[in-house]
């Protein structure tokens, strides 16, 4: 297979994910409404609680909504990209996967295209939420949004690879509830999206630093409101490491996937 053929496969699989994205407005709306519910109900609720003098100090010098919104954006990137990775199970169930398995392109190329496409849609969703949430954030820079989205894209690559890796080992959606309770929820709660990691007990803090989502939340918050617990360069390193590791694992597991 020529390098051109490789690129074609990557391109066309990304194209497929984008087509699916624009074809399902209900999915787009759901993926935007859900974070907005968090911001409005959860966020407003706590924001009015943390209005006492000195409360801002708890969140690195910003009000609670400014602290929360970047976290919610990172959370939506995470669930969006992870779930689209998992949705490769649909392809298995509805048969399209066979079309890819029998194609003369390396599976890694097809998978990479899919990951890049899924990550782009997750980032677009994040962008929409960011734009809607902006008026609620106290200070924000245009360049900051671009950086935040760039970091979001990097995080999405790793998380959608994680979804594909897990889906490659699953036979049906039966195990899905399990993943929801044992993976998605803990990763979100540990990430510092809702509350600062700083005040966690040491063992929770340890787990938080092992959660890749922590670095994505931290970087998004840094670029959007200028508050960070971790150096953004470390965030970048952690996300790149996450991407490399998970893409390799996903490529291996997806490559081994067979019809049996």
């Amino acid at each position: 297979m020529t390098p051109m053929g490789w690129l074609d496969a990557v391109y066309v699989m990304a194209y497929r994910q984008l087509k699916h994205f624009v074809r399902s407005p209900s999915r787009i709306i759901a993926s935007i409404v859900n974070p907005l519910i968090w911001i409005l109900f959860f966020g407003m609720g706590w924001a009015s609680t943390f209005r006492f003098p000195g409360a801002k100090a708890l969140f690195g010098g910003v009000d609670y909504l400014s602290f929360l919104i970047p976290g919610i954006i990172a959370m939506s990137v995470f669930t969006g990209s992870f779930l689209s990775g998992i949705s490769i199970l649909f392809d298995k169930q509805f048969g399209f996967l066979k079309e890819i398995l029998v194609a003369p392109v390396p599976r890694v190329a097809a998978m990479t295209g899919r990951i890049l496409g899924d990550s782009l849609t997750a980032t677009i969703e994040a962008g929409i939420i960011a734009v809607i949430g902006l008026p609620l954030i106290t200070r924000v820079s245009f360049l900051g949004i671009l950086y935040a989205l760039l970091y979001s894209y990097l995080a999405a690559i790793g998380f959608s690879a994680l979804g594909i890796a897990i889906a490659s080992r699953m036979r049906s959606y039966e195990g899905f509830q399990l993943i929801m309770s044992f993976l998605i929820m803990p990763l979100i709660f540990l990430s510092g999206a809702f509350y600062p990691i700083r005040y966690m007990p040491w063992w929770l803090k340890l787990l938080a630093y092992m959660d890749p989502l922590t670095y994505s939340v931290d970087a998004t918050r840094y670029w959007l409101v200028g508050v960070a617990q971790i150096n953004p360069w470390i965030d970048l390193g952690a996300l790149l490491l996450l991407d490399a590791g998970l893409v390799i694992v996903a490529g291996y597991l997806f490559g081994k996937m067979s019809l049996e």
Partner: protein
Amino acid sequence: MKRYGDIVAVNGVSFRVKYGEIFGFLGPNGAGKTTTIHILSTLLKPTAGRALVAGYDVVREAASVRRSIGIVFQDPSLDEGLTAYENLYIHGRVYGLRGSALRERIEEMLGFVELEEYRDRLVRTFSGGMRRRLELARALLHEPRVLFLDEPTLGLDPHARTRLWEYITRLRAEKGVTIFLTTHYMEEAEQLCDRIAIIDKGRIVATGSPDELKSMLGDEVVYMRVSDPGKACKALERLESVKECKVLQGGRVSIHVPSAAQTIPELLEAAKNSGVRVVEVSYRRPTLNDVFIHLTGRGIEEESVDETERIRIYARSYFRRKG
């Protein structure tokens, strides 16, 4: 040979398909037809044995095999959330086609299966027959040398089935592509295939053209309605070309002969000479089902639909919107 643990799915499956012919694998469900196709299309690795497709080894030269083949799977494999055109476009790009060459090729194939009007409709809205046609167009898009069709008309209504048969027959005439198909429909094998391998329990039990297979049984059967069956049989059994004459119900007799076409005049003559009046004559060549019964002791199509197939047929009709 392909083995799953202790279960041997196919074994002793050895055959050659000639360039440009339609070769059929005929056998009941679970005979190993799909397993064979999956091995030939590089989706499964054989546990033992060797297979060449378009001159390439399916294990060592899998990439070359993949480029040379097109396949319509038994179960649907289209992307339902995309349009007909997009499904073909993605396939084309994955197989290295692009630009105006790809666009022209897509239009050509949409025309071939008569789906031009539906090009921008989502596959989700397609009937079972339309989906199969689109899958056929997709499998042919990159001009494969060998086309695999796994139970191409399973679950289709008679009209859609006949239509698909027409495309397959036209393919051989117009494109010269070699076709390997599996089926458990007798009529399908007979209508479409130049040669057939009858497969049962993972083994090929016979190979040949439909006519060759049927002539294995030797004779043909002539049915006659006559004024006096007993007398008729007595007279006819004296003829050299008559192997056996049986009296049936309703004043009828059945006569086994090597060739009905040649023997019928002789039979009529003999009946007339013995004073028996012949009211009606018909004859039947043995069907492939008779051949299958002869070889395996049971029929193919009489078998009850097994569970997997029921689910498949259900799944297909479930997603169908239009008749």
